[in-house]
Symmetry: C2
Subunit: 211 residues, 2 copies
DNA sequence: TTCAATAAGTGCAACAGCTCAACTTTTGAA
DNA sequence: TTCAAAAGTTGAGCTGTTGCACTTATTGAA
């Protein structure tokens, strides 16, 4: 998910704990690096900007940069844990009567890159950057897949199946893969919908063995 | 898929065309590189062996090595096109009355890493190498995913759906992802079976709109 | 047989991403 | 005030990978 601004800001973080000077400085450094990186990436393209250059622009050493971001791709994606929360919430707090796959479909359509370009140009440009850069696409995909386990657990709880039922893992994994499967289609949105149809029918047939 | 021998061999290739000296030498060089690489990898682990060392062992320059194999991971996996053929054949030549997902499940169970350690220790050791090395796991996965398009087309032909029906893409993609979804389970075999159950029910419900 | 075109291979330098070890500064608290 | 941990720096260096200029070997045709 994109960061809200590109300008150098010392954004307060949503945690209410009043962090000390130390933490604030650390956050500021991190932010400066991320801002510099995003600006350069948008200007010239991801592959055209090197780590050393970003470090220079943020006025830190490359070593420091890598202490804040484990790999180059991570400079682009922040807030991974927030995403996981939203994903799980989409399942847990879905409307009455909505199936789990249906909730996941909705979440996929509104969140992940499927969002129609509504207003926010910054977001649109950011999205385009990711879409155009294979390394970033791959990384984004892996990011989502990292949440498979948590999602599978949530699915198990919601459905009453055993926590380690392979069916839950399979649904979780496939649901997170769906946008990628749809990526190369003429109409990705439609492709996502159909992919979830597949999952929904299968799930409904299998998740209530009692019926 | 593993290569049959580790010893340096100038294996004849199954193509009947009597290749000239040039092509033969090229193939021999390639084989020497791959053999050296595999031997070293098995001895000391993938990450512990560098490109320069492999090139030395095969007595070629690193430049030459990269002319034969585009990336380090490719040193381990050969015969990618053969795999694709077998995958497509599994769908096209499935027994009468067997559904497409069922055929894919069977193929997944008998081929990819699911094979019980039956006899061939070389294969077992090779499989273990891949399983233990994240970079190789990822690469193997990408390899399979590269066949999504071809598989989707085969599925479309066999089912009578439109060639670009998203349902075919989705099934193809999910079927190729299934082993990975199952990877971390206590009983991966069982997990693969259940994952394909999900796909099979969904597919059967959706692939015959006329019924 | 000769010869030019082509492909394979070489050597080396360089770049990009990333890590390591040793060292300095800042900071929070005792 | 003191002191250990955390944050940051420096600089060297490793690894995968590429570009470039160059040498050979093989081949198909003249």
């Amino acid at each position: 998910m994109p960061r809200p601004t590109t300008g150098t800001t010392t954004d307060s973080i949503s945690t209410s704990a009043p962090m000390g000077r130390r933490e604030r400085k650390k956050a500021a450094t991190r932010q400066a690096i991320a801002d510099a990186a995003l600006r350069l990436f948008l200007e010239r393209g991801y592959d055209e900007v090197g780590i050393r250059e970003i470090a220079d622009a943020a006025d830190v050493s490359t070593t420091t940069l890598f202490k804040h971001f484990p790999v180059k791709e991570a400079l682009v994606f922040d807030e991974e844990s927030d995403q996981e929360s939203r994903l799980l919430a989409a399942v847990r707090e879905r409307p009455e009567g909505q199936s789990i796959p249906a909730a996941l479909r909705e979440h996929a359509l509104t969140t992940r890159r499927m969002a129609a370009t509504d207003g926010d140009t910054t977001l649109a440009v950011f999205t385009e950057l990711v879409a155009r850069t294979p390394a970033l696409r791959d990384y984004a995909q892996k990011m989502w897949l990292r949440h498979t386990t948590a999602l599978a657990r949530a699915i198990a709880e919601e459905s009453g199946l055993a926590a380690d039922d392979p069916l839950c893992t399979a649904l979780a994994h496939f649901a997170l893969e769906a946008p990628r499967a749809a990526y190369s289609h003429a109409d990705p949105r439609e492709a996502v919908i159909r992919a979830f149809d597949l999952l929904e029918y299968g799930w409904n047939a299998l998740s209530r063995p009692a019926l």
